[in-house]
Amino acid sequence: MKLSEVQKLLDCEVLTDNLHPEVEIKDVVASDGMSEILAFTKSGELMVTGLTNIQSIRTADVAGVCAVIYCRGKRPQQNVIDYANSKGIPVLATKMVMFDVCGILYKAGLKGVS
């Protein structure tokens, strides 16, 4: 599934300058724990989190995820968006809660990582 399709499914706003809409997504990691994300990702996953601090993007960079979606209507500060732009990591935001985000993505055929 393409990132642009995920954006529509979750009714996301794009926060960074670039979306990379054609990026293909197969797996998802969803967590508010940065170490949990690092423990389970391999590379290229979609990261869903409710934590909007700068460490969420540093974790995303270390983990090599393809994009970050902030859920629960959370929005990061501008310095976090700037940092994501500098790393080329697309960041989106949805009002949906994490449970619903995961359910929708799972129903659409995406899988979690373990």
Binding site: D32, S35, E36, A39, N53, Q55, R58, V62
Partner: protein, 143 residues
């Protein structure tokens, strides 16, 4: 005898959560520029990141030293801080001494040290309560 190709040391300031993870980001950029295998870089940066976060969360200050040889990447993280009273306990997944403040930032799930060990080919921790901790990690690479 393995030849040392590169040695870099990076200071880490304790309790500076704004900068936490910056050093690991620098290490990732540097290693990518050397053209190493992407999985080797990923493992190295995960070890560095988790170690850096531990220094920020618990220590007054620390240093991350990276040594690249023709066979390995060695990371040594030494800090001045409270030390770890029970290393075996600290290595258990899920065990955490994180404060509520740290958990709000997404840390303290008790997976930091296990993540470091899992991504290392060789891994050791030495610690002295009241003085600090030294973590050593070796990740083998092929040229």
């Amino acid at each position: 005898m393995t030849a040392e190709l590169l040695r870099e040391s990076y200071p880490v300031q304790g309790r500076n959560f704004d900068k936490a993870g910056e050093v690991s980001g620098e290490i990732k950029v540097m290693l990518k520029g050397l053209g190493l295998d992407s999985q080797v870089i990923r493992r190295t940066v995960i070890v560095a990141f988790e170690a850096e976060m531990n220094v920020v969360m618990y220590a007054r200050k620390g240093t991350i030293t990276l040594v690249l040889t023709d066979t390995d990447i060695k990371l040594e993280i030494a800090d001045e801080g409270p030390g770890i009273p029970d290393i075996e306990l600290a290595l258990q997944e899920g065990y955490s001494t994180a404060t509520p403040e740290m958990r709000e930032m997404g840390f303290g799930f008790g997976m930091g040290l296990p993540n470091m060990k899992k991504n290392s080919d060789e891994f050791s921790i030495e610690s002295e309560v009241g003085r600090g901790t030294r973590v050593s990690s070796v990740i083998r690479h092929s040229q």
